[in-house]
């Protein structure tokens, strides 16, 4: 520490990244300043560009350059299905898994009264508007299988049921390749509750 005030400031700035403490921040900063100043300039320029030009999609609240995101613009995707997720990272996970060709809506969080997150913070009005615009046959609520995620799913269902024929919740249970013996009690309770007929 204490090379120059600006170096210290930069090291501190890097520590906002997840998993980056003082030591690794220092390593990153010294690497950029000593060995890769071109890379550092690129990083700074792209960062500025991204901050100026990436916002939320007007339609689905996904990350977007411009008013509407690529997924909403894509005419080949089905308007019949609308999937509600907590974060853009969930969209990436679902897209990578493949098999889903519908639309999305991003809440950017989940209901958590004690943390001050209520329906308004999650853009529920916008979601209702989006569902009305698309007129999907089914809305799939893919919030995380936590108590807050469940509460959010319930709220979404109550909000949309008067306007959409079918509101469904993703299944949760024992993971593929897992073994019951090593599965936690909460997961087993939910897996038993969510059981379905084999044929």
């Amino acid at each position: 520490m204490g090379l120059t005030p600006l170096v210290d400031k930069l090291i501190e700035a890097f520590q906002i990244l997840p998993g980056v403490g003082p030591k690794s921040a220092q390593r990153m900063v010294l690497h950029l300043l000593q060995r890769d100043r071109d890379g550092a300039a690129r990083l700074a320029a792209v960062m500025q560009d991204a901050l100026a030009n990436i916002g939320w999609c007007d339609a689905c609240r996904n990350l977007a350059e411009g008013d509407v995101c690529g997924l909403c613009e894509d005419a080949r995707r089905e308007d019949e299905l609308l999937c509600v997720v907590e974060s853009p990272a969930d969209i990436v996970a679902i897209e990578q898994a493949g098999g889903y060709r519908g639309r999305y809506f991003v809440l950017h969080g989940r209901l958590s009264p004690i943390d001050g997150v209520g329906p308004e913070e999650l853009g529920m009005e916008r979601l209702l508007q989006r569902a009305r615009e698309l007129g999907p046959r089914e809305v799939i609520v893919a919030t995380n299988p936590t108590v807050e995620g469940e509460a959010t799913a319930h709220y979404v269902a109550q909000l949309l049921e008067p306007h959409v024929a079918l509101v469904t919740r993703i299944a949760h249970g024992v993971p593929i390749g897992g073994e019951l013996e090593y599965t936690d009690g909460g997961t087993i309770v939910h897996a038993l509750q969510g059981r379905r007929s084999i044929n």
């Binding site: 998993g19 009264p113 943390d115 308004e120 936590t146 509460a151 319930h154 109550q158 909460g186 309770v189």
Partner: protein, 232 residues
């Protein structure tokens, strides 16, 4: 240095803390509400045990305000649906807001466990569970009022008469032209008998007023989870 093991507790709330840990707010049977760091709690297995409203057998140690959870095992995983869940959030939010950390409150612990169990079992309506919980919470925090006796005349409440609530005193005969509450409803609340709709309505209004006086300007956000308004 505090060191406790094998204590019954209920998870009220958790939030992420640093990279891989979380801070759990738990209500314990004999040590009140405590906040404790849980290390490495972001993996699915530990996170599952620490879902809000689970009952635990837990141990912790530390000094000052923030403890470290040293052991925990979930002994119940309530599966709450819809309004039951919104009601459970309401119970947890009330305790987080009104019960100070480390304030010993075994009766509130019992009431929270009873409320969560009753909500899951579903044999009492959500509304009755919440009114019963609110009454006990107010009494135990020292904000309770007398439902069976008139605050100025000290006579028993007359089921035929009407009464109004004077803050921090209790019920007095309703002034001319004031609607107030019926004596019959007040006596029913005193007996924890919420079978009549008018009793439930009166209790809701009375408890909400008393709780709001303690909560101050910041509203309870869990009330907004009940989309259809007055369902709780």
């Amino acid at each position: 240095m505090t060191r406790v093991t094998g204590e019954r507790a209920v998870v009220l709330h958790t939030r992420p803390y640093r990279e891989t840990s979380m801070i759990a707010n738990i209500l314990t049977e004999r040590h009140g509400r405590i906040a404790a760091v849980v290390r490495g709690a972001r993996g699915a297995r530990k996170a599952s045990s620490l879902q809000p409203f689970n009952q635990l057998v837990a141990g912790w140690s530390g000094r000052g305000s923030l403890m470290t959870l040293t052991s925990f095992e979930a002994i119940s995983h309530p599966v709450l649906k819809g309004d039951q869940m919104a009601a459970a959030f309401y119970v947890a939010e009330l305790v987080m807001r009104l019960l100070a950390e480390h304030e010993i409150a075994p009766r509130i612990f019992t009431a929270v466990v009873w409320s969560l169990d009753s909500l899951e079992a579903g044999d009492l309506s959500t509304e009755v569970v919440l009114r019963s919980f609110e009454k006990l919470l107010l009494e135990d925090l020292g904000y309770g009022i007398e439902f069976g006796q008139c605050a100025d005349s000290l006579k028993s409440i007359d089921p035929q008469a009407r009464y109004e609530l004077i803050p921090e005193q209790g019920f007095v005969a309703a002034a001319e032209g004031k609607e107030g509450y019926s004596g019959a409803d007040l006596l029913a609340i005193a007996d924890d008998d919420y079978s009549a709709a008018s009793t439930r309505r009166s209790a809701k209004k009375i408890f909400r007023g008393l709780l709001n006086a303690q909560l101050g300007a910041r509203p309870l956000l869990s009330r907004s989870l009940l989309l259809r308004g007055s369902r709780e």
